[in-house]
């Protein structure tokens, strides 16, 4: 599983970095991505923005680690060239 630690980042950067990472993974055969954030609004906006991308991303789970920290687990499909 790939891990993207975005603690300290805020919107809209949280989604931008997630999108770049997910696309890298998609073009490299796909896989699972764990995104760590400590900006609660991003926990709502990252899954919704990924869905809008139309790439087939699937949010598997959102875990609250306490305080403002969350983990978002995403299934990234392999992109067809």
């Amino acid at each position: 599983m790939e891990v993207l630690d975005l603690r300290g980042e805020k919107c809209p950067d949280t989604f931008v970095y997630t999108k770049i990472k997910a696309e890298e993974m998609g073009y490299s055969g796909g896989g699972r991505l764990k995104v760590i954030v400590d900006y609660p609004p991003a926990v709502e906006s990252i899954p919704r923005s990924l869905a809008e991308e139309g790439r087939g991303y699937k949010v598997l789970e959102v875990k609250h680690l306490g305080g403002r920290t969350y983990e978002i687990y995403i299934e990234v499909p392999a992109f067809e060239e």
Partner: protein, 301 residues
Amino acid sequence: MERIRAYFGSRYHLVGVKLFREIPEGYPTPAKPGKFCEFVRRAAMGEVILMRAEDEECHQSLIALGFQEPRFVDLQPRIEPANTKAVLIAPVEKVEDPDVVLMIATPRQVMEAAAMLHGIEAKFAGEIAVCGEVIAQPIKTQKANVTFLCGGARMFADYKDSEVILGAPPEVFRELEARVKALEKSCGALCGCRTSDLPQHVVQVFSELGFERGIDYFFGRVDSQNVRIYLNKDTEGRVKYITVHLPIRGEVEPPPGFEARRRGAWTDLYATFKDGEGFELATGRGVKELIQELVEKVRGG
């Protein structure tokens, strides 16, 4: 509420925001999707916008404004339950019965508004800002709030670094308007323009009379009497009035033409005069005589 805009010298309209549970007819919708905070700024420049869910690009705003429920985090502040179908954003005079009124302002303008409202208790976190901190929050608490915006608003909506937003239920702005009117009535007595903002030739007038410069007034002594001079703007923002303030120890009745305020062991006597009516601020003609006459009047001379 145009009076408020004029008093604060704001370049922006006050913005009225109204939430609808059904999509109303007859209002223009945006040509392309954008962000609520961006629509607020456009409304402050005069535009009327009816924003529906499909017009909003920001997911956090959809939650804060009550278009959608959150799925993973109880984001606050937000409109609960989520039954909003449209939001009207327009210059306040074009919104009937708004839920919230917004004023895009500089910190100094917010400071002045807060002083006139006898304080604002602000709560902000730099996230879900325009949509949450100055829309959902004032609707829920029925109190004013101030937001310093969020990263998205600063990045996409073209707010200046020097701009913040004061948001409050319309009643608060009506109160502010009443205070502005009261100030106009007394021409802002005992609350003057910052002397650093005054034209140099006006400052020179009082300097030549031997007055020192305070932050928002000039002070000096005339015939052993302490005198303070406040200069006040009209609703167009022009320096148009002079308020002469004479603090007198003890309780005294105001002479004709003066008003009085008690302050501890002192009575503040003050009177306000309009530029051009017996004196000229631009040249200083008649100013010395006016002050002299008032001092003599207070002393019963």
